[in-house]
Symmetry: C2
Subunit: 203 residues, 2 copies
Amino acid sequence: MASVKANPAKMGRPRSFREDEALDAAMRVFWQKGYEGTSLDDLTGAMKINRSSLYSTFGDKEALFRRVMKQYSAGPLSFMSEALNLKTARAVVEALLRMSVKFLGDPGHPPGCLSIQGGLACGSGNEEVKQAMVDWRKAGLAQLQKRLQRARAEGDLRKGVDPKDLARLIMIVMNGLGIQAVNGATPAEMNRAVDLALQSLRL
Amino acid sequence: MASVKANPAKMGRPRSFREDEALDAAMRVFWQKGYEGTSLDDLTGAMKINRSSLYSTFGDKEALFRRVMKQYSAGPLSFMSEALNLKTARAVVEALLRMSVKFLGDPGHPPGCLSIQGGLACGSGNEEVKQAMVDWRKAGLAQLQKRLQRARAEGDLRKGVDPKDLARLIMIVMNGLGIQAVNGATPAEMNRAVDLALQSLRL
DNA sequence: ACACATCTGAACCGTACGGTTCAAAAGTAA
DNA sequence: TTACTTTTGAACCGTACGGTTCAGATGTGT
């Protein structure tokens, strides 16, 4: 008979690229050029994939970008969860800032942070992407606030400081560091600013 | 005879728009949408000018943007020079942060700061604009460094703090505040973070 | 009323964009 | 070898972009 179809799942021509590697290449392009500044040709060129492979594997440009955001959170940005798992508020804050400097200044990838580089302002038609990035950044703040509120409950934070305010200040500094990195500040320069912040902010 | 031409400078149809008002409108568009996200139609629409008026008055999109940068420095960003003229380092720093919050959260104009919103990452072909913005931001940092170095020379700064590091930290916080404003943080929220920064950074 | 300089509106140009489609190639399992 | 499924490359589509041009409208100074 006609219907032989043994194992449909494994039939057909296999992919010539690895999905996560392609995503990684796309991440770098978005990181460097921003969402709006990235063209499909930029993407297919970096991912070494043609348009239809991109389309069938990831969907359109926006869907790809959202996949990249996920991958970025789980990969390059994973130091944040690591830092948040440290035992004391002081350790968390110090690790966040130090690791941010190390991360932002790493010459192995584009400067700055995708959560900012990807798109801060957007033209008409990309409002949803812009909003997604706002939500993304706010989620990071919320995580830190939660961690510091726990610290407060554990008596791990001076009475004088409100955990929500402190969390916001730390995020401000982290984001500001991202701008500095784009401006070409060296890790040493950024670390000296962080020294000052940490020695002031005696927790 | 033919050559009557009395005062060539004042002849011809006068402009139906004021140059600075048009610039102001363009500023808001770039501020909101970024350089790449802004189309010529966005600009002509907001400026109530047609393309040829824009072209003949300001040159192309990039030249207009550079004019806008100048206007922005002289206008919305003038609080920086005001702050830098204050007498003590402490007053300078406090004014910079407080005025930044007030400025960034002002509902009378787009959120954030043009020096960041205008373009942090750029696609191919706009590298020069991106570089101009990097230079712009670095110039702001240099101004502040200079002022704080003067403070140090005047014995107006604790021995422990390097004026260049302090300047960078202040810029980091100012830039970070700009991101917060875009994220929708209220002036009150930003001010509480600034409270914390200022009370920590006892100068 | 006149001549003149300048501005204005609208059309046009070439290019690049994001998105989509489809025949042909390619590899797998029987 | 054969049947079958998926990927691949390239072409195509409509749209919007930034930039440019030009004939005609408009206000000025004489």
